[in-house]
């Protein structure tokens, strides 16, 4: 029923103006509000904190359906749910949950996760942003890059270095109000895909953050980021799955309608085989996503499974969306048929929340016991 609700919303509402939003990089404010009212923005948060209390499997199903139509919107939902809400709910204090988690789970406020820096993307240990310990508060200085929800978010989770001499063990995570003095947001990034999601750099100049806004013990920031990203990867894997299955659905429809050389494309073996290969990859990606989600729901370790799901789904999405454009021919290369947009969006799933190369590092380290 959750999958059906997400599908109904995506196919009836989200699809409207999706091409215009992509062309002009328009933030889907109306849809974020509607999804919040339906409970999607905090769907995995406990009802105790105004969330919907759904499991990760339901979350995967919902993200897949929304991503078939508009991955720019599903990434806003994914970041809010699996990075920001998850991080505060699982590692925050009761006061932090009451103050910050409730409005985020209701979707009245949106959160952002600030880890990447101009010179620290995949290499998250090289944080240049500093959170200097000033007794009752931290003084935050530095720049964060590629921040989804960078301008619309009210609540930032900022990863910053407090004890450079301790390396990654000196990193902290702070909850920062967007309205704090000393924060400036850079211009909207003009991206290849996911164009209507709100990506910015964020600069901190002597921003005072109360001590009680630190999540966990002193130095917990790096572990926090890694733990949170383990779950975040399931969201992005599900998004890649949606891009892949959306491209497959459109290709099946087109192949049955379009004729070439006197018969439907579907009756040409070269196209039929492509469709079969696409379906196999979609099925594999879905199984990996659901397995990672199931492990998380069972309270079992899921970092390895979520890395595998994210790697496979992203690679499958890139291949499937590219083939979908090929099946559509000239029509695939114009915006009206959507598949070129899915292809542009798929590219990002190989990059953000851990590149495909980082996923292979995680998977191989687990197998080879090299840390």
């Amino acid at each position: 029923m959750i999958q059906q609700a997400a599908r109904d919303y995506a196919q009836r509402e989200l699809i409207q103006d999706v091409i215009e939003r992509d062309t002009h990089s328009i933030y889907p404010a109306k849809h974020v509000k509607a999804l919040a009212e339906l409970g999607f923005m905090g769907m995995m948060v406990s009802p105790e904190y105004d969330g919907a209390g759904m499991d990760t499997i339901s979350y995967v199903l919902a993200i897949e359906e929304l991503s078939k139509i508009d991955a720019s919107t599903s990434v806003i939902m994914s970041v809010n749910n699996s990075l920001v809400c998850y991080g505060i709910e699982h590692f925050g204090t009761e006061e932090q949950k009451q103050k910050y988690l409730r409005p985020l789970a209701r979707g009245e406020k949106i959160g952002a996760f600030l880890l990447s820096e101009p010179e620290a993307g995949s290499d998250a240990t090289s944080q240049r942003t500093t959170a200097e310990d000033k007794g009752d508060h931290y003084l935050l200085n530095g720049t964060k890059n590629w921040i989804t929800n960078g301008n619309t978010a009210s609540t930032y989770l900022v990863i910053a270095q407090t004890h450079p001499e301790k390396g990654h063990k000196g990193i902290n995570v702070l909850i920062v109000d967007r309205g704090s003095a000393g924060i400036s947001v850079g211009p909207h990034e003009d991206k290849m895909g996911m164009r209507s999601s709100d990506t910015h750099s964020v600069m901190f100049t002597d921003v005072k953050v109360p001590k009680e806004n630190r999540i966990g013990e002193d130095g917990f920031g790096f572990v926090f980021a890694m733990k949170t990203l383990e779950g975040g990867r399931i969201g992005i894997a599900a998004q890649a799955l949606g891009l892949a299955s959306g491209a497959l659905e459109r290709s099946i429809k087109y192949a049955q309608e379009r004729k070439a050389f006197g018969k439907e494309l579907a009756k040409h073996q070269s196209i039929a085989f492509k469709i079969a290969e696409m379906a196999i990859k979609v099925e594999n990606a879905r199984n990996l996503c659901l397995k990672a989600a199931w492990l998380k729901d069972q309270g079992k370790p899921y970092g390895y499974a979520s890395a595998m799901a994210k790697y496979y789904a992203a690679e499958a999405a890139m291949w499937i969306t590219t083939e979908a454009v090929q099946i559509h021919g000239g029509y695939g290369y114009v915006k009206e048929y959507h598949v070129e947009r899915l292809m542009r969006e798929a590219k990002l799933t190989q990059i953000y929340e851990g590149t495909s190369e980082i996923q292979k590092i995680i998977i191989s380290r687990e197998l080879l016991h090299v840390h």
């Binding site: 029923m1 959750i2 059906q4 609700a5 109904d8 919303y9 009836r12 509402e13 009212e37 339906l38 409970g39 999607f40 769907m43 009802p47 919907a52 209390g53 759904m54």
Partner: protein
């Protein structure tokens, strides 16, 4: 007042309908079931009215004739926002048996309004609402495209040839509703989906009633003929084909 909404469990509108050998029965294997689209709009309007007039509308109850397989559809109606559900445990054989089962189950219920979709998207009989009102001996209004309350009670707008007609009706009444009663069917919220699991769903036995319809045969509509493309420069061929093959000129 309690608003009852009749819910028909129908195959998804994109289903490819197949028939069992002999063409006397529909083959429902692998079919995805949904709330009949007109009933979904009726339910949406009933919930909107309850939310806007909490003092007037006490609750929204959905009622459906069907076996246990219909329960996912009924639970979806509860997730959308109905307060409770009644399932009449019988196979709906034709419009008359469906109406008669509903009438029997609703006997003695404190009825304010009964909303019934103008037709179901599977058998399109356009009959259940009218029959139900007749069997229950209460008024009915057909072709209702808007429903509101004012100081005079229930205000409905009907679509009529060349315009619209607005009138008041007494209660209890059956309103046979069509498109326009609500604009977009409501999508269940996460909270709605969670609470639907525990909302009351009463199962009542059906009564033995013989159907009035006997199906002799089903036939699939003929396949759409293929489109032939003519070169825009070749008007002579187009005229020739329209004259000789299509015989329209």
């Amino acid at each position: 007042m309690i608003i009852f909404v009749c819910i028909s469990n129908v195959p998804d509108t994109t289903t490819r309908i197949k028939y069992k050998p002999g063409n006397k029965e529909v083959d429902y294997t692998g079919v995805q079931w949904i709330i009949n689209p007109w009933d979904e709009l009726a339910l949406t309007r009933a919930i909107e009215l309850k939310e806007a007039n909490p003092a007037l509308v006490e609750k929204v109850t959905v009622i459906s004739v069907g076996k246990a397989e219909a329960e996912p559809t009924i639970r979806k109606a509860l997730a959308i926002g109905a307060d409770e559900a009644i399932r009449v445990d019988m196979v709906p054989e034709d419009a008359y048996t469906t109406a008669a089962q509903l009438a029997e189950a609703l006997k003695g219920e404190p009825i304010g309004l009964i909303l019934s979709g103008v037709e179901s998207s599977d058998y399109n009989s356009w009959s259940v609402g009218g029959m139900l009102a007749e069997l229950m001996d209460i008024p009915s209004v057909s072709a209702v495209s808007s429903l509101n309350f004012d100081n005079n009670g229930v205000v409905v707008t009907r679509e009529i040839e060349g315009g619209k007609q607005t009138l008041n009706t007494t209660t209890p009444a059956v309103l046979i509703v069509q498109k326009g009663i609500a604009i977009i069917p409501r999508i269940p919220s996460m909270r709605g989906i969670m609470t639907a699991r525990t909302k009351p769903l009463r199962v009542v036995p059906g009564v033995a009633i013989d159907p009035l319809v006997k199906v002799l045969d089903y036939q699939a509509p003929p396949q759409k003929s293929t489109c032939r493309m003519i070169d825009p420069e070749n008007i002579e061929e187009l005229v020739d084909l329209l004259h000789r093959e299509a015989r329209v000129i």
